[in-house]
Amino acid sequence: MIRVLTALMWRDLRNLLFGGRGGGATLPLLFFLAVAMLYPFAVGPDAPLLAKTGGGVLWIAALLAAILPLDRLVQEDIALGIFDQLNLRGVTEEIVMAVRLVAHWLSFGPLLMLACLPAAALLKLDGETLHLLLLGLLAGTPGLAAVGLMIAALTAGLRAGAALSGLLLIPLALPILIFGAGALERGDPATLGFSAAISLLLVAITPFAAGAAIRAGREG
């Protein structure tokens, strides 16, 4: 079992992180940094305003950056028949999706948090806001990854799946955003507990929901 998990994880990381396919992890990262770079140009170099609104903008950037990798998360492996072959070897879709969820998060969550450092400098965020932002992203990005994977699996068979998944993610990710960015407003880390709880719930159900979606897709 460990052998299978290692092989799956290595393949997923290679495809998602190192850009085995179309861009890899750099695309969400550059998107996130681009927002942080453009925002001061759009609202002007007013440091108090930037510091007040910058955290929320970075949250929105993180949420939208999570949409970018969705179209290559599941669809390609269905077309290649990877899931079929794994199923025949007794590796269930739930296991494959659980591994992919971890790999997907690793390929954008930690990178976005790292990118928060230069972004915070660009937006003149103070130390406390940055601290809350990083904690919030740590609590929220696993949930974003989970929602993204679930949606990618559900829309994999559809012709306009990529566009649809972007639209579907936004309402489902809203609670994470509300509690995650809400902590910045109040300066209170306790709100992040809600964000983490929602994340945890999403992480727990995603392997089963995404696995069932892939199995159902075979019958179509």
Partner: protein
Amino acid sequence: MQARLAAHDLACRRGDRVLFRGLSLSLEPGDVLHVTGVNGIGKSSLLRILAGLLSPYAGTVERDGAVGLLDEKPALDPDQPLSHALAFWRAIDATPGTNYPWDMEHLLDVPVRYLSTGQRKRAALARLSAQTAPIWLLDEPLNGLDHRGVSMVGAMVESHSRAHGICVLASHQPFPLDGMRVLELAEFVP
């Protein structure tokens, strides 16, 4: 290796059309079954039902032994060199030391997306043979292969059958092997 593959009273429905019904089969070690029929009659669906990837509309399937499936999807990462793409399956199957069934040395460094249709089919056959599954389900195994490739697949299936393996192959072309059982799918169309 005591493999067995049996199906009782299978029916398959795609959309609102019943493709076939009342299909039963029972295969013992060493059996090779050639499923024939025109395009769209349900050969691929039958193989996917036997593999357990598709649930039958009616009937049951009994499988004893691991299943190896070869269909039109190669299940090899297109951006990876062939050796890496095959190594993934060898890691999953825990068969790292097995030999390729024929000479593929010159292809191992080539990314899978640059392989021709026939070369990709050979690569998929190499994946299948490294899996060491007792039950083989081959969906159009000859598509895209040249004369030599066709006879190689014939030899592969023959040695698999001699090693007490079971093979079901769906093909609209004649298959280069003697002593196969033949299942004409048209007999089961309602």
